[in-house]
């Protein structure tokens, strides 16, 4: 029997039991839909996070206090005061670290800001004018505070666009005085909408001199993050290595696993995001895989029922000339057609759902979430569904083909 004929025969066999066929493939549809959703959403999430990381710029190195916790009880790794003025001075020293053009030590916090009767919960970013160069951002109105403000611990503030809007509405903010952490700050500058840069959402920040923040607001003398700008992309890795060496020497650390700081470049962060989303996807895909296996067993079950039901048909086909191979092919085709149809429906449904989700996320959460049709997911989904039909169809098809024609014809 030709393949085309076998295909047609199998198709007829399936369409005579339409509702059963549809119910049978539900498991496969759900499994493939899940695969498509996971692939599409993880792609979207990765793209989103990567675009934020890329906002950092490829010439910026981030030095963070603490290290990756080695276990759940490794608190010391997170709460550490390892980054102080000593470290900033060392990084600025060209004899120790090559290629550095700007070093901005930062502290962060959060508190309520007041202006007249308006209040706004804002993030605190204490920094130095070097941050402008490190992140390539500049205030739209007024000016950023200068090095004199940092050394003099001045009470001046630059506002993120969102903070400005909440406190001042449309009116001018530069020159006004706001209250933050119970201290009066003179507004010297305002940023335009900038959005997320790395871990910072500049729009919701109040930016003040780092010395002022440590002295009066936080009562601390260490930094959370030091941002380092290097002269070119080419030296980023070298400079990052220099920083690691310098800080280790300064802290008498010989074992890199005992680092009390973390040096990361844009490439490091991107790689880490890839790892995280990869692990998450693998986790979710394994759940989808279970649903596919359950679906496959369902297919096998129904195919076995169908083989028993159609014993007489098998006998007749053999009597009029079907070989064992013809019958095997017919039933194998049926299960593969079933599962790949389920796969195609799943691909369509999964794409539709992820499109809807990207629209919802963009519209209602105002996240810039792009929809990308996961071609790899679609190919994988189709391949996997056809494979399931093949694997779970073999046993019933063999059962069918092994039937003796006389037994099958006698079957009531």
């Amino acid at each position: 029997m030709t393949l085309r004929n076998t295909f047609k025969t199998a198709l007829v066999g399936l369409t005579t039991h339409k509702s059963r066929s549809i119910l049978t493939i539900l498991g496969i549809v759900i499994g493939i839909t899940a695969i498509m959703l996971v692939m599409s959403l993880s792609q979207g999430a990765t793209d989103l996070i990567l675009s934020q990381i890329q906002g950092l710029g490829s010439q910026t190195i981030i030095v963070r206090a603490g290290r990756e916790p080695s276990g759940p009880s490794d608190f010391a790794s997170i709460f550490t005061t390892s980054l102080k003025d000593r470290e900033v001075t060392a990084i600025k020293n060209p004899a120790l670290v090559r290629g550095v053009v700007a070093v901005a030590p930062n502290v962060i916090g959060s508190g309520t800001a007041l202006y007249g009767s308006e209040t706004k919960n804002a993030s605190l970013l204490g920094t130095t004018p070097d941050i402008l160069q490190a992140l390539e951002i500049y205030p739209k109105y007024g000016a950023f505070f200068n090095d004199g403000d940092v050394s003099g611990r001045s009470s001046v503030a630059v506002l993120g666009s969102e903070v400005k809007k909440e406190l001042f509405g449309e009116s001018d903010a530069v020159g006004e005085t706001i209250k933050f952490y119970d201290r009066n700050f003179k507004v010297v500058g305002v940023f335009d909408d900038i959005g997320q840069i790395g871990a910072f959402d500049i729009d919701s920040n109040i930016i003040i001199p780092v010395t002022t923040a440590n002295q009066y607001l936080l009562g601390a003398s260490h930094y959370t993050v030091i941002m380092v700008r290097v002269e070119s992309e080419a030296v980023v890795e070298k400079s990052a290595d220099d920083i690691r060496q310098t800080l280790r020497e300064l802290h008498n650390i010989t074992d890199p696993d005992k680092d009390d700081f973390l040096v990361a470049t844009q490439a490091d962060l991107a790689e880490r995001v890839g790892t995280i989303t990869g692990v998450l996807s693998a986790l979710l895909l394994s759940v989808a895989a279970i649903s596919l296996i359950v679906g496959g067993i369902g297919i096998m079950n129904i195919m076995l029922v169908s083989v028993t039901e159609r014993t007489r048909e098998i006998g007749l086909r053999k009597a009029v000339g079907a070989t064992t191979g013809d019958i095997l092919k017919q039933f194998l085709f049926e299960s593969v057609i079933l599962t790949s149809t389920g796969g195609v429906i799943g691909i369509a449904l999964g794409s539709l759902l992820s499109l809807v989700m990207s629209i919802v996320l963009t519209q209602f959460l105002e996240i810039d979430w792009g929809f990308a049709f996961p071609i790899m997911g679609a190919l994988l989904g189709f391949g996997v569904s056809a494979l399931i039909g093949l694997i779970f169809g073999i046993y019933p098809a063999r059962q069918a083909s092994k039937k003796s024609p006389i037994e099958a014809l006698r079957y009531e």
Binding site: T16, R312, G315, L316, R317, G321, I406, L409
Partner: protein, 237 residues
């Protein structure tokens, strides 16, 4: 005339675990080309087993079966399937049509395994359907037909590959006497057109359409006689 079928000392023993049940014990006869032979016998006489072996649906456990001079034992299973497809036509008591499938598709079924091109298949099937007078029902679902019509579809299916031998296994067993008579008329007509026909039945009036009746009893031939002209004709003549 040449012999289409020759069986020599045919034996069939069914083995179910330790128990051996002989169904055929040493049956020998020849069937000439174009002959119409009825095989009769009470249930348990071995006539169904005989049909299964002659139709190459089963293999004998002893003896030899020559189809057109060639020993069946020399064929592999897939070759037997090919022989069934090209040399034989089957008419069953229970019709065995594919439900929810059109008359045309049912009649085309043997051709699907023959490698004949689709357009040619349609032509051959139409011709066979016309021969049993069901051209007006060509696209009907087989399950909507009456019993007599169903068996005529089955006759068309048995005829479609222009077989050397047509086997009919109790073809009137599920029919009332009127449709049974019509069906036998069609089978008789096939014989007149030169087809070799082997009919299995336990009804004498059906068997009397044949030219020759082989009676089986306990797996052996009890009698093998020609039907005299005056007897021939069954219940409608």
């Amino acid at each position: 005339m040449t012999n289409v079928i020759r069986v020599k000392n045919l034996e069939k023993i069914y083995t179910d675990g330790e128990v051996e049940t002989p169904a055929l014990s040493g049956v020998s006869f020849d069937v000439r080309e174009g002959e119409f032979v009825a095989i009769m016998g009470p249930s348990g006489s071995g006539k169904s087993t005989m049909l299964h072996i002659l139709g190459m649906l089963d293999r004998p456990t002893g003896g030899q079966y020559f189809l057109e001079g060639k020993d069946m034992n020399s064929y592999l299973d897939d070759e037997l399937a090919h022989l069934r497809n090209t040399k034989f036509g089957f008419i069953f008591q229970a019709f065995n049509l594919l439900a929810r499938t059109s008359v045309l598709e049912n009649v085309k079924l043997p051709l699907a395994y023959s490698g004949i091109v689709e357009s040619e298949q349609d032509k051959m099937a139409m011709k066979a359907i016309e021969a049993v007078g069901l051209s007006h029902r060509i696209n009907h679902e087989s399950s909507r037909l009456s019993g007599g019509e169903k068996q005529r579809v089955a006759i068309a299916r048995a005829l479609v590959n222009n077989p050397a031998v047509i086997f009919a296994d109790e073809p009137t067993g599920n029919l009332d006497s009127k449709s049974g008579g019509q069906v036998m008329e069609f089978i008789d007509k096939l014989h007149d057109q030169g087809h070799t026909i082997i009919l299995i039945t336990h009804e004498t009036y059906t068997a009397e359409y044949a030219e020759r009746i082989i009676k089986l009893k306990d797996g052996k031939i009890e009698s093998d006689e020609k039907v005299s002209e005056r007897h021939r004709g069954g219940f409608t003549k």
